[in-house]
C-alpha cells in the first residue's frame, strides 16, 4: 500500500468552551477524491482549515506524503502543496482575476513581470482543465461560478497537489456543479488529491472514492464510497435513523392570499435584481421558490418583508400594500398578517447580543401585549411569552435570559420560527429555513411548516436546497436572473428539469 498523501493524527481544536474537533485521525490516499460529510457544525471546515494552516490545532500531527509536517500558517500549507477553496471565497473584489491569482505568490518586488508570467500560466491552465476566465475582469463583475474557478486557479497556480474544496456546490447550478465535478475528475487523472467537504449525500455518492463521516467534532467512520449507501451515511452523520422525506397530505389550496403582479426591484447600485415577476400563493399551500443563490430570491423576500423598495403591485388578501414610503416597512407588513423567517437569522432574524426574551418580541415589540403603559415596555410579559414559546418549540436550553448567540444554530432558528409562526400569520415568508441547522431541528421545522399549511395558511418558501424544495412544496417556481423561469408541480417534475430551469434553460417547456 502506498503512503497516504495526507495523514492527520489525533487532531483536536477548541474555540473557547466549544470543542470543534476531538482527536481526529484520517488518511487520504494520493490521486483519490476523498469526501468529508457531516452536518453543519460537525467540525469539517475546522478540520480542513487546520490542514490549510488557517487555524492552529491544539493537539495532533499532520503528515504529508509520509513526512511529518508543521503547518503553523497558510504559507506553510501552500509550500507543502496544499490548496484550499473556502466556502466563502477569499477574493479581493476590486482586484482583477490576475491580481487575485498572483497575490501572495508574486515572483519579485515588482508587479509587471509577475503579471506577465501569470497571464501565460493562466492561459495554459485554462486549456488543460477547461478553466476559462477573463484575466482582466474585476472579481466584483463576474458571477460566483467564475469566482470559484479563480479560487481553483489560485491553488493550481501555486502548484498545489492537494486541493481542498469546502461546500463548493452551494452556489452553483446543477449544470455548473457537473462542470466542476468534471474538472475535479481531470485533476484526479493528473494525480492530484482532492478533499471534498459537503453535507450533500448525492455529491458524495457521485464523485468520491472514499468518504469520512463527522459528527459533533468526531470522526465516526471512513468507508469506501462503493461499499456504502445514502441511508447508511445519513445514519452515521446523525447517529440515528433519519427520515429523508417529509410526510404530508396533499394540499387543499383555498383563496389567493398573496398576489404579486409585475414586481421589480433595483438595488442601490442601479442593478435590476428582480425583473417584472408575477405569481400567487393560496391559502393552505406551500409555494417553493427554487434557484441558485443570488438570482433575486433574497430581494424578493426583502421586498415582501417590507425592507427593500420595489415597483409593481402586491396584494394581500386582495388588498394592495404600499411598496414605497413610510408605510412600507416590516412593521406595517406584520400588521397586515405577513410573518417572515429571514434567510440569515444571525444578520436579520435575531439580535445576537440580545437575550432570548428580547428576541422573541423582535419585530412585534410595539404590540400592546408587550406594553406596560404608554411609555414603558412590560418585561415580565415578554419573558413569560418567551418561556411559553420556548417550551412549545422545544428550544434548548429553555432559558429566556440567555443571549441569542449562545444557542446552537438549530435552537436559534427555532426561536425565530416560533416567533413568526406563533403570530398565526395569513402568509409566512420563509428563507433557507434549515441552513446551518442540525437534522433534528430540520425535521421539527419542516413539520411545523406543514402543520401551518394544514391550518390553511399560505407559505412562500425560498431555499437553495433543491431537496428541501421538492419535499416541502405543493408548487415550485424557479428563479433565475431575477425572473421566474417557470412553475412546476413537484410530482410532475424532476431534479434534472428544475436544474435546467435554475440555469436559465427553458428547454421544451417554453
Amino acid at each position: 500500500m502506498s503512503t497516504p498523501a495526507i495523514e492527520l493524527k489525533g487532531i483536536s481544536k477548541a474555540f473557547g468552551p466549544v470543542q470543534a474537533n476531538k482527536d481526529i485521525s484520517i488518511r487520504v490516499m494520493p490521486g483519490t477524491i476523498h469526501g468529508i460529510i457531516g452536518e453543519n457544525g460537525a467540525g469539517k471546515s475546522t478540520l480542513m482549515s487546520i490542514l490549510y494552516g488557517f487555524y492552529k490545532a491544539d493537539a495532533g500531527e499532520i503528515w504529508i506524503n509520509g513526512k511529518k509536517t508543521e503547518i503553523p500558517d497558510s504559507q506553510h500549507a501552500i509550500r507543502a502543496g496544499i490548496g484550499m477553496v473556502f466556502q466563502h471565497f477569499k477574493l479581493v473584489e476590486n482586484f482583477t482575476v490576475l491580481e487575485n491569482v498572483v497575490l501572495g505568490a508574486e515572483d519579485g518586488a515588482l508587479l509587471r513581470p509577475t503579471l506577465a508570467r501569470a497571464r501565460a500560466q493562466l492561459k495554459k491552465l485554462a486549456e488543460e482543465y477547461e478553466l476559462n476566465v477573463d484575466p482582466d475582469a474585476l472579481i466584483e463583475d463576474i458571477g460566483v461560478g467564475m469566482q470559484q474557478r479563480v479560487e481553483i486557479l489560485k491553488s493550481l497556480y501555486r502548484q498545489a497537489d492537494i486541493l481542498i474544496l469546502d461546500e463548493p456546490t452551494g452556489v452553483l447550478t446543477p449544470a455548473e456543479a457537473d462542470h466542476l465535478f468534471r474538472i475535479l475528475e481531470s485533476l484526479k487523472r493528473e494525480g492530484k488529491t482532492i478533499i471534498l467537504i459537503t453535507h450533500k449525500l448525492r455529491e458524495i455518492m457521485e464523485i468520491t472514492d472514499t468518504v469520512s463521516v463527522m459528527r459533533r467534532g468526531e470522526m465516526t467512520a471512513t468507508v469506501r464510497t462503493a461499499d456504502t449507501s445514502p441511508p447508511e451515511l445519513a445514519e452515521l452523520m446523525v447517529g440515528r435513523k433519519v427520515l429523508l422525506r417529509v410526510e404530508k397530505a396533499p394540499a387543499r389550496p383555498g383563496d389567493k392570499v398573496l398576489e404579486v403582479r409585475n414586481l421589480s426591484v433595483t438595488d442601490d447600485k442601479g442593478v435590476k435584481r428582480i425583473k417584472d415577476i408575477s405569481f400567487e400563493v393560496r391559502a393552505g399551500e406551500i409555494l417553493g421558490i427554487a434557484g441558485v443563490a443570488g438570482n433575486g430570491q433574497s430581494e424578493l423576500l426583502e421586498a415582501l418583508g417590507g425592507y427593500q423598495s420595489a415597483t409593481g403591485t402586491i396584494l394581500v388578501n386582495g388588498q394592495p400594500i404600499d411598496l414605497t414610503g413610510s408605510k412600507s416597512d416590516g412593521r406595517t407588513r406584520r400588521d397586515r398578517g405577513i410573518a417572515h423567517v429571514p434567510e440569515d437569522r444571525q444578520r436579520e432574524g435575531l439580535i445576537m447580543d440580545f437575550q432570548a426574551w428580547e428576541n422573541v418580541a423582535f419585530g412585534y415589540h410595539h404590540r400592546p401585549e408587550y406594553q406596560k403603559n404608554r411609555f414603558l415596555m412590560d418585561h415580565a410579559a415578554m419573558k413569560a411569552d418567551c418561556e411559553r414559546k420556548m417550551e412549545r418549540f422545544d428550544v434548548r436550553p429553555p432559558n429566556p435570559m440567555l443571549l441569542a448567540k449562545s444557542f446552537s444554530g438549530g435552537n436559534q432558528q427555532k426561536l425565530v420560527v416560533a416567533r413568526e409562526i406563533e403570530r398565526n400569520p395569513d402568509l409566512l415568508l420563509v428563507g433557507q429555513p434549515t441552513r446551518g441547522v442540525d437534522i433534528g431541528a430540520i425535521e421539527f421545522i419542516h413539520q411545523q411548516l406543514v402543520a401551518l399549511r394544514d391550518q390553511g395558511k399560505a407559505i412562500l418558501l425560498v431555499s437553495v436546497e433543491l431537496d428541501e424544495i421538492l419535499s416541502l412544496s405543493d408548487r415550485i417556481a424557479v428563479m433565475f436572473d431575477g425572473q421566474i423561469m417557470g412553475e412546476r408541480m413537484p410530482a410532475e417534475t424532476t431534479a434534472k428539469e428544475l436544474g435546467l430551469l435554475m440555469a436559465g434553460i427553458r428547454g421544451e417547456a417554453a
Binding site: 477569499k90 479581493v92 476590486n94 482586484f95 501572495g104 518586488a109 515588482l110 508587479l111
Partner: protein, 322 residues
C-alpha cells in the same frame, strides 16, 4: 491682483499644504491597509514637539527630525497594538492618541523648558533652511517664468520638496509593486491575504509604521520649518483636515495632493486677506475663514461632490471567521 501677490499666495499655499499632504499620505497608507486613523493629529503634534525640543537641545534639525519621527512612530505602535494586535476600536484608539499627544507634549514641555508648554525659539541649524534651487540667477530675469521659478518653485525647505516627491513615490509603491498589491488587498479583504499565506498583522503594522514616519515628518515640518519652535496645540486641526482631504481624494495619491493644495490655498488666502477686503468678495469675518475648511469638509462628506467609497475593510479589526 498682480503677479507678485499671486506668486506669494502660491508660495504660501505650498508651504501650508506640505504638512497636510504628508499627513494625508500617512492616512492613505494606513487606511489602504484597513486601519482607520483619526490619530494623525496627535502623531503630528507629538512629532512637532519632540522635533522642536531635540532640535533646540542638539542644535541639529536633522536630529530633531529623527526625534519627531520616533515620537510619531511610538504612537503608531500604540495604535497598531490597540487596533491590530488587540483588535480594539480604531476610532477610540485614535481619539486617545490625540489626547495623549495634546497632554503629554505640554506636560513634558513644561518640565523641560518651563515656558508654559512650548519650546524655546529655534534658530540657525536647528531649523530647516530654505533651499535656493540652481539657476535662479540665470532664469530670474525671464519674464513670467522667471518670477514663477524664483518665487514659487525655488526657495522652499527640504521637506516641501520631499512631500512633493512622496506623491509619485506613494503611487508607484501602491500600484506597481508587490508590497502595494498586498497592502491594498489587506485593506479590502484581509482574509484573502491571510489565506494566501501572508501575515495580515505584519502587513498592517508596516502600513501603520509608514503612516507614523510620514506623520513624524509632517509634525517636524510644523515646528522646525514652517515655524520656529513648538507651541501648544500647534497642529490646530490639520490632522483632521488631512483626513478630510483623504476622503475627498478617494484614497488616491494624486487627488490627495490636489485636495491638500486646495486646503492649503484656503489657509494661505485667509492669512493673506486677513482684516482686508477680498478681491471681488469684500470683507469676510476672520472666523468664517477659520471655519471654511471644516465647512467645506462637511459639504464634501455629504457627498455632493461625488461619493467616496472607503477601502472595504477599513476600520474593521481582522478576526478569522468561525
Amino acid at each position: 491682483m498682480d503677479l507678485m501677490t499671486f506668486l506669494q499666495l502660491g508660495d504660501s499655499t505650498f508651504r501650508l499644504s506640505t504638512p497636510l499632504l504628508l499627513a494625508c499620505l500617512a492616512g492613505l497608507f494606513s487606511e489602504r491597509a484597513g486601519i482607520f486613523d483619526i490619530g494623525l493629529e496627535g502623531k503630528m503634534l507629538a512629532a512637532a514637539f519632540f522635533s522642536g525640543a531635540i532640535a533646540f537641545v542638539s542644535g541639529s534639525v536633522w536630529l530633531g527630525l529623527l526625534a519627531g519621527i520616533g515620537a510619531s512612530l511610538a504612537l503608531s505602535l500604540v495604535h497598531g497594538l490597540a487596533s491590530i494586535t488587540f483588535r480594539g476600536n480604531q476610532l477610540i484608539s485614535g481619539v486617545a492618541i490625540n489626547f495623549l499627544a495634546a497632554g503629554l507634549t505640554v506636560v513634558v514641555a513644561q518640565d523641560w523648558f518651563g515656558q508654559g508648554g512650548r519650546t524655546p525659539q529655534l534658530a540657525g541649524a536647528a531649523r530647516f533652511q530654505n533651499i535656493t534651487l540652481p539657476f535662479t540667477e540665470q532664469i530670474g530675469h525671464v519674464p513670467f517664468l522667471g518670477p514663477v521659478y524664483v518665487e514659487l518653485i525655488s526657495g522652499h525647505t527640504f521637506i516641501v520638496y520631499l512631500a512633493a516627491l512622496c506623491v509619485p513615490a506613494a503611487w508607484w509603491l501602491l500600484f506597481r509593486t508587490r508590497f502595494g498589491l498586498r497592502l491594498r488587498a489587506v485593506g479590502e479583504n484581509p482574509a484573502a491575504v491571510d489565506t494566501a499565506g501572508i501575515s495580515v498583522v505584519r502587513l498592517r503594522f508596516v502600513a501603520v509604521g509608514i503612516c507614523g514616519v510620514l506623520c513624524g515628518i509632517a509634525g517636524a515640518y510644523l515646528a522646525t520649518a514652517l515655524q520656529a519652535g513648538f507651541i501648544k496645540d500647534m497642529t490646530a486641526g490639520r490632522g483632521f483636515i488631512a483626513l478630510a482631504a483623504l476622503i475627498f481624494a478617494k484614497w488616491k495619491p494624486v487627488p490627495a495632493m490636489l485636495a491638500c493644495l486646495l486646503f492649503g490655498f484656503l489657509e494661505a488666502a485667509s492669512i493673506r486677506f486677513q482684516g482686508q477686503p477680498w478681491p471681488g468678495i469684500g470683507r469676510v469675518p476672520v472666523q468664517f475663514m477659520q471655519a471654511l475648511p471644516y465647512v467645506l469638509t462637511v459639504i464634501l462628506l455629504a457627498g455632493f461632490i461625488g461619493r467616496a467609497v472607503a477601502p472595504k475593510a477599513s476600520g474593521l479589526p481582522y478576526t478569522k471567521e468561525r
